[in-house]
């Protein structure tokens, strides 16, 4: 029985030591990214049942840029078009003549841009659409034009105030290649994400489905629980200013941790506790 006890203790203690050592390693040295995200990018979970689960984790929201002939939406298709050469570069095989349309999902490195050119471009697009709708309404004040104008005004307000400003930029199989590509930009976040390629037989076009981030939730420790306990769940139909902002770092293993959380007008950091 003594040997079982020793082996059991060895398994439990060694595993925990390895896990915690990994956490320390991730947080050591220079962080891979450092951003301040708001409720626009880090939201309450959709179904937050405080009764059964007292832990709080925030969901990371990101978008893909809308296509040229597409409207801008808060929740985009999470799919991008790629060439065959890019597909092969990412480690996928081109579809064969049998064309089973089945390829494995793979973890790749994604670059996300925060509040940069892609967001500005989306904002301009929505503004332009709204201006066009406004002019159409001014020239012909009928019900459809009025409805269109109001819809686009709402979309514009959302884009300015509540939509996520985190946009997918690029994907690569190699972290170093991606990091060096964006080395001069401070608002780039490189994370791991799950991707799956598709092939459209009709258009003969490859596309890459950006399924999900490997780490899509960020846990909040008890030190900041009071901030969130006083907040109600976000009304997704309304357009509301973000109620908090979170200072984050991503480490060597691309795993994030929270430095501080600001509630509007108040600053509470871990170091000040």
């Amino acid at each position: 029985m003594k040997k079982y006890l020793l082996i059991g203790l060895f398994i439990i203690l060694t595993t925990n030591m390895i896990v915690l050592a990994g956490v320390v390693f991730n947080r050591s040295g220079e962080p891979s990214s450092e951003l301040t995200l708001t409720e626009r990018e880090l939201s309450f979970p959709y179904s937050y049942d405080k009764g059964e689960n007292s832990g709080i984790s925030l969901n990371l929201h990101w978008r893909t840029p809308s296509k040229k002939n597409e409207d801008s939406y808060a929740y985009s298709s999470k799919e991008i078009e790629i060439s065959q050469s890019k597909l092969v570069e990412l480690g996928f095989e081109p579809f064969n003549s049998e064309n089973k349309f089945w390829s494995e999902s793979q973890t790749l490195f994604w670059a996300l841009e925060f509040d940069g050119n892609l967001y500005e471009s989306e904002l301009r697009k929505v503004q332009l659409n709204y201006q066009t709708a406004l002019k159409e309404y001014e020239s012909l004040s009928n019900k459809p034009n009025k409805h269109k104008k109001e819809k686009l005004k709402t979309r514009l307000d959302r884009e300015k105030i509540s939509n996520s400003r985190l946009f997918f930029v690029d994907v690569a199989a190699d972290y170093e290649a991606l990091a060096s590509q964006f080395s001069d930009q401070k608002n780039i976040l490189i994370v791991k994400g799950l991707t799956k390629p598709y092939f459209n037989k009709k258009t003969k076009q490859y596309s890459l489905l950006l399924r999900q981030l490997v780490i899509k939730k960020i846990m909040i420790s008890v030190e900041y629980a009071n901030i969130f306990n006083s907040l109600s769940q976000k009304d997704w139909s309304g357009i509301k200013e973000p109620r908090y902002k979170v200072d984050l770092k991503w480490g060597k293993r691309l795993e994030p941790w929270v430095l501080s959380i600001n509630k509007m007008g108040k600053h509470i950091s871990e170091n000040q506790k």
Binding site: L9, I12, V19, E52, N53, G91, K192, I218, L254, E255
Partner: protein, 359 residues
């Protein structure tokens, strides 16, 4: 008979044999086939009483049918207790973890499985059948699973398949320490998942999607089936059964899936060809397993293979006839096929009985 040199299974079998012998002897005496003298009866009773007492002192033996029924009840209660205790621990932690600091969370997560491991090992030494120790062991495993999964959430760690091999190792430890089949079940599930995930990763997929390619389960199934050949389980009642049945399930279910959905195969053939291939494999393998089970007296292998053979057969019938055949004829044919199987088994059984009678 030295009680220490026999296993729990052998001891129970001997007691059952004594009970059967007593019943048969009473019947023979009442029909005047045989009569024992008083001295012989006393000697026989004394011998059997002493033997049962000796075996009972080392193992928890069921002397009569009532105690057997109670034992079954205790096993069911123990299983239910273990599962509900594990669920309770999970929900308890989720209820309160957001209210405590990170250091306290980590400390509790590490200490809980250690404490319950100590309790389960202590109880194993105190109890003969170790019902309470099995509950404690399962609770310890639950705490360890919670330990790693919660650390992952607290520190936003990238999920990894390596957790499954750690959980498997811990489950195996508890299974053999506490003689707990439930722990062995979870150990085999964990190690199957881990090997399948790794095989999936080697083929280029994300490890969580290992289920997208059922063939990932073949190698772990084969390994688990062969393990009892190399590890003696004399003192571990029912462990070999768990190994073989789990192995067969992890092989046959993927074959069943692939025989109906060929596009998820690794094989670079057309879906139709893959499905046909796996249908043949499924039938062949189940028939081979039936004969292996009969030859080796592995009843559990025979029964499991029977179940899958019937599933393969009726799935084929469904494919061929369901769309166009009137439903009453379809089910009538199924009934006829069952009768045919019944006749075949009856003939085989009769042959065995005749051979046995001759010998």
């Amino acid at each position: 008979m030295d009680a220490k040199q026999v296993s729990q299974l052998e001891a129970q079998a001997r007691v059952d044999q004594i009970q059967s012998f007593k019943k048969e002897l009473n019947t023979l005496q009442s029909e005047d086939v045989i009569q024992l003298t008083q001295t012989q009866k006393l000697k026989l009773n004394d011998y059997h009483s002493a033997l049962q007492k000796k075996l009972s002192s080392h193992y928890e033996i069921d002397i009569c049918i009532e105690s057997k029924q109670l034992t079954w009840g205790m096993k069911i209660a123990s299983l239910f207790g273990a599962l509900t205790m594990a669920a309770s621990i999970f929900f308890l932690f989720y209820q309160f973890w957001g209210l405590i600091g990170t250091f306290t969370q980590v400390s509790l997560l590490i200490c809980a499985p250690i404490l319950l491991l100590l309790i389960s090992l202590y109880l194993t030494q105190q109890e003969k059948h170790a019902y309470f120790s099995k509950i404690a062991a399962f609770a310890s495993l639950s705490c360890f699973v919670l330990n790693l999964s919660m650390l992952g959430q607290i520190f936003n760690i990238t999920p990894s398949p390596n957790a499954f091999v750690i959980w498997a190792a811990f489950s195996f430890l508890l299974a053999y320490a506490c003689n707990a089949k439930l722990m062995l079940f979870f150990a085999l599930v964990s190690i199957s998942c881990f090997i399948s995930m790794k095989l999936g990763t080697f083929s280029g997929m994300y490890w969580i999607n290992f289920g997208e390619r059922p063939e990932n389960f073949f190698i772990p199934g084969l390994i688990i089936f062969l393990l009892p050949q190399f590890i003696t389980h004399k003192n571990y009642l029912g462990f070999e059964v768990i190994y073989r049945v789990m192995a067969m399930i992890s092989v046959f279910i993927p074959i069943l899936i692939l025989s109906n959905w060929g596009r998820v195969s690794y094989l670079n053939w057309s879906s139709g060809m893959v499905e046909g291939f796996y249908q043949i494999i499924g039938f062949g393998l189940s028939i081979s397993a039936i004969f292996l089970g009969i030859k080796r007296h592995w009843h559990h292998v025979t029964h499991t293979a029977n179940v899958f053979f019937i599933l393969f057969l009726y799935t084929k019938f469904f494919d061929w006839w369901w769309q166009w055949m009137p439903k009453y004829i379809f089910f009538f044919i199924l009934a006829l096929s069952s009768l045919l199987v019944l006749i075949i088994f009856k003939r085989l059984r009769l042959t065995k009985v005749n051979v046995g009678a001759v010998l």
